[in-house]
């Protein structure tokens, strides 16, 4: 293979940092992921793996490479942008549905809900100065006795997010996730 800019995998210029720029030239197929992007990727993947580790194909094999502990993944995501935080938080709600009293999941959700709340205050000026308690709002999904259907829990997590992000819109006109399902085919 010929040598090209940005193809020196794992080379200089990929260290972390707030203003990190992707190495390589944008839009010409030579751009490599930044170390930050890779960390967020691994963290998200680890959260999604945690929720599926005992199911189907994954349940029959040892954890694949690149998967980190849930605690480590949450520490990384606590410093990530709002997109991965939303994805991870909603997926944790799905994972917790059949085990609503799980202390591990309760702690993980609380940390991410706090991170998400900080993002909302920054992204939505209307929320500045208002009282928010997102950790409790997500915890309330599991207040009822017994386990929930995982996909229903996921939809309720999305509902909590939309309720806060679109709080200016009356409830009956607010975007809502009515049905949700993912299955292997």
């Amino acid at each position: 293979m010929s040598e090209q800019p940005g193809r020196d995998v794992g080379g200089p210029g990929q260290t972390g940092g707030g203003a990190e720029k992707p190495p390589g030239r944008p839009g010409d197929g030579t751009r490599l992921p930044t170390e930050q992007a890779k960390e967020w990727h691994r963290a998200l993947l680890s959260v999604y793996y945690y929720g599926r580790q005992n199911q189907g194909t994954l349940g029959r094999h040892a954890p694949p490479m690149g998967v980190r502990s849930l605690a480590y993944a949450i520490d990384v995501l606590a410093r990530a942008p709002v997109g991965p935080v939303r994805l991870a938080l909603a997926d944790l709600c799905r994972t917790r549905a059949p085990q609503p009293t799980s202390r591990t999941l309760k702690l993980a959700m609380s940390t991410l809900a706090t991170t998400y709340q900080k993002h909302l205050r920054r992204l939505i000026p209307d929320l500045q100065g208002t009282r928010l308690d997102l950790p409790t709002a997500f915890e309330d999904i599991f207040k009822e006795r017994g386990s929930l259907d995982p996909e229903a829990a996921y939809a309720r997590a999305i509902g909590v997010m939309l309720q806060h992000e679109q709080s200016r819109i009356p409830a009956n006109q607010r975007p809502a996730l009515q049905t949700y399902s993912v299955s292997s085919s």
Binding site: M1, G27, H61, P64, A90, P175, Q178, T179, S181
Partner: protein
């Protein structure tokens, strides 16, 4: 050989506009909204002199063509991050963007290489799917399906194929979130 990972996701939403899902199904938007999943996407200007329209030196980046709001049967380059490995993949894609439907269909043409601790030729031998958002009365129905199978890096291909059972559901959630929520750029 491990089986391909194949998943289908469906969702329905209310109080939303079809245009809210333009970013979800336009691949040119993905690296901006999720730099932790894609480094680059662009339409390819077919190279002269090869039947595939790809440069004969596969390590060379395909030439970028102009962005479009919709297109039939175009080659798309994607730099996709998967389990920390960057796959430089070429897909044949069709993007429909009409008043009642936004839909993307894609099928792999060739994976140029997989960049891990070094570059491996190829890397994916099956990558096919579709995603759509369709107006259905007062609601919008979203359907996504994807089937993928990895061959490189060979020493870890078993693990990468296991991770596909995590990443494919994650990609469905990403497309859904892209339409539902404010994206932080």
């Amino acid at each position: 050989m491990s089986k391909p990972a194949s998943y289908t996701g469906t969702a329905s939403v209310t109080n939303m506009h079809l245009s809210d899902f333009e970013k979800s199904f336009n691949p040119l938007e993905w690296p901006t909204t999720a730099p932790y999943l894609w480094t680059d996407t662009y339409l390819i200007k077919p190279a002269a002199g090869t039947p595939s329209g790809l440069p004969l030196d596969r390590s060379a980046p395909p030439q970028r063509d102009a962005d479009l709001p919709a297109w039939p049967d175009r080659l798309l380059f994607e730099g996709a991050i998967f389990g920390g490995i960057l796959y430089r993949n070429v897909l044949e894609t069709s993007l429909v963007n009409s008043a009642t439907e936004i839909s993307l269909e894609y099928e792999q043409v060739e994976c140029l290489d997989a960049l891990a601790y070094r570059a491996f030729d190829g890397g994916i031998d099956l990558d096919v799917g579709q995603g759509s958002a369709k107006v259905n009365g007062a609601q919008i129905d979203i359907t996504v399906s994807k089937t993928v199978h990895f061959t490189q890096p060979k020493p870890v291909s078993h693990d990468v194929n296991l991770l596909a059972h995590v990443m494919v559901p994650l990609s469905f959630d990403f497309w859904l979130h892209c339409g539902l929520f404010i994206q932080e750029i």
